[in-house]
């Protein structure tokens, strides 16, 4: 067995244990099967979601909202956070407002966005952008502030200024913290998004599906939906962020790879 296979096995083993325990409990613990359905009915529900196309539609809806808002929020957060960490006047002007906003959870803005945008996509997306931009700004700011002064001096001496300083020196130098910010932003946005889809009746989305399944007492569908939510979150981390990390900071050796 090669190292990659062994790694995959080690990652999957805990899941296998949980599934087995679940199945044993569902079969032999005498719990009502509607509340605690066995694996086969959960997977049947999953298969049905897949077959009738609702799974694809839900995933597409949820991921579109997620990526739209993360892209916009992360872009603004990265640029603004970098400026906060480099220009004293930007930092001075924004620290207090940022701390003010940080104490307002994105979800607490729902009443406001519902008034502004009604029961619409924008009500959700605006909150996600807010949350992502704030998180990324905070992490980028601290990241840029901890850049070794010698690197900034080298950048200045060798002609990086203005936007060039941002793209060529500050952002790559602060990338370990910035990726940490993206990671945090994705997980926060993901949580808020699932809840938001329950509150705002969009036409397709994982959160919407979960809520809808409960309304109609399809409990196996609730579990199937939760499974999809969890696996999706895991894939965002493994596929997207881990790849970004491998391609940048790990390759450069600016963060330590655990051995």
């Amino acid at each position: 067995m090669n190292a990659a296979l062994r790694g995959a096995a080690a990652a999957l083993a805990p899941f296998a244990v949980i599934l087995v325990l679940w199945q044993l409990a569902a079969k032999f613990a005498g719990l009502p099967p509607s509340l605690f359905p066995p694996l086969e009915s959960i997977f049947a529900a999953l298969l049905k979601m897949f077959a009738d196309g609702s799974l694809a539609a839900d995933l597409a809806g949820t991921f579109r909202r997620l990526f739209e808002s993360v892209l916009i929020g992360a872009f603004f957060g990265t640029v603004f956070g970098t400026m906060m960490g480099y220009f004293k006047w930007v930092e001075r002007a924004s620290v207090a407002p940022m701390n003010f906003l940080l104490s307002i959870p994105g979800t607490a803005l729902f009443p406001l966005t519902l008034i502004w945008f009604g029961l619409s996509e924008m009500a959700i997306i605006s909150i996600l952008i807010y949350e992502v931009a704030l998180t990324v700004t905070l992490m980028t700011w601290t990241g840029v502030k901890s850049i070794d002064l010698a690197l900034i001096r080298a950048g200045r001496v060798f002609g990086a200024r203005g936007a060039g300083m941002l793209w060529r020196v500050l952002i790559p130098a602060a990338l370990p913290s910035i990726i940490g910010g993206y990671r945090l932003a994705f997980s926060r946005a993901w949580r808020i998004l699932i809840i938001a889809e329950m509150l705002v009746s969009v036409t397709a989305g994982l959160g919407y599906r979960l809520y809808y399944a409960r309304e109609y007492f399809h409990f196996e569908l609730v579990y199937a939906g939760l499974l999809v939510v969890g696996v999706s979150g895991l894939l965002i981390e493994r596929v997207l962020l881990r790849t970004l990390e491998r391609a940048t900071v790990n390759r450069w050796g600016t963060v330590r790879e655990l051995t």
Binding site: R153, R156, W252, G253, T254
Partner: protein, 266 residues
């Protein structure tokens, strides 16, 4: 050949907080005068705290002087610029760029086209002896190799003046000697104007046409020694060691004076 660095009437003062609410003004140096002629290798040597690195930071345009000017070919320095190449003690390489792209960094700032940039970078990667490592990231290089990249990056912009701030200070003794030999050879090829900061006396004698000893508080040039030994130089000759001793005396002598002055003050 152009590339004259002229320092005139240079002063640097810092406000230092001492204890509760008491601020004192610390004068690093007052009206410093020195000229590095085109194609000349000049070292500034002195004990730590004598302001030699401050002098270099001002020449690099990274710090502003309190008074006076630094001029390159008659043009006063008002900030960082690509007419001066800087080599840092901490190497300060960009870890996200390969050796070649580190060397090409300044060329990109100049707006040089990609082909030309790569050709020029390759030439200087070659010059510093790293052609086999052009595609490596800095974290995989040894200290000596890293500083070779630092040197290549500074030379690649083909500056009028090369400013080196204790470039080998962070290296072990063996590597340091190695790098001194390499720099000596490269300098004989390029004949750049060099302002070299160091606290290593042998290093300054080995490399320089002229050595300036900066000492005292506020510091000033207490000795100017021309080294006319033929190149390449050999460290263990009598003439070489005589120069080393002369400089050593100048630095230590001043140190003794400083100590007694401080005793009187306190």
């Amino acid at each position: 050949m152009t590339g004259e660095l002229k320092v005139s009437g240079l002063a640097k003062r810092f406000a230092v907080r001492q204890g509760w609410r008491r601020r004192i003004e610390l004068t690093v140096f007052e009206s410093l005068e020195l000229t590095v002629h085109a194609g000349e290798f000049v070292s500034v040597i002195g004990p730590s705290g004598c302001g030699k690195s401050t002098l270099l930071a001002i020449a690099a345009g990274l710090e502003a002087p309190s008074a006076g000017t630094v001029a390159v070919d008659g043009k006063p320095v008002r900030g960082p610029g690509l007419d001066r190449g800087v080599v840092f003690q901490e190497f300060a390489l960009f870890p996200w760029l390969t050796v070649r792209d580190n060397v090409a960094f300044g060329l990109k700032s100049m707006g040089m086209k990609r082909d030309e940039r790569l050709r020029r970078a390759e030439k200087y990667v070659d010059l510093v002896g790293l052609s086999a490592f052009a595609q490596y990231y800095p974290n995989r290089l040894s200290g000596g190799m890293r500083q070779r990249v630092g040197l290549g990056r500074a030379l690649a912009v083909e500056p009028a003046v090369l400013l080196m701030d204790e470039p080998f200070g962070a290296l072990d003794a063996l590597t340091r000697e190695n790098m001194q030999n390499a720099l000596g050879e490269i300098w004989q090829e390029t004949h750049k104007t060099v302002l070299f900061i160091t606290h290593d006396i042998e290093e300054s004698v080995f490399l320089s046409d002229r050595v300036l000893v900066l000492n005292g508080r506020p510091s000033s040039i207490v000795l100017e020694l021309t080294i006319a030994l033929p190149r390449p130089r050999h460290r263990h000759t009598k003439e070489f060691q005589a120069h080393v001793e002369r400089l050593d005396q100048a630095i230590r002598g001043e140190l003794r004076i400083n100590a007694t002055q401080e005793e009187v003050i306190s």
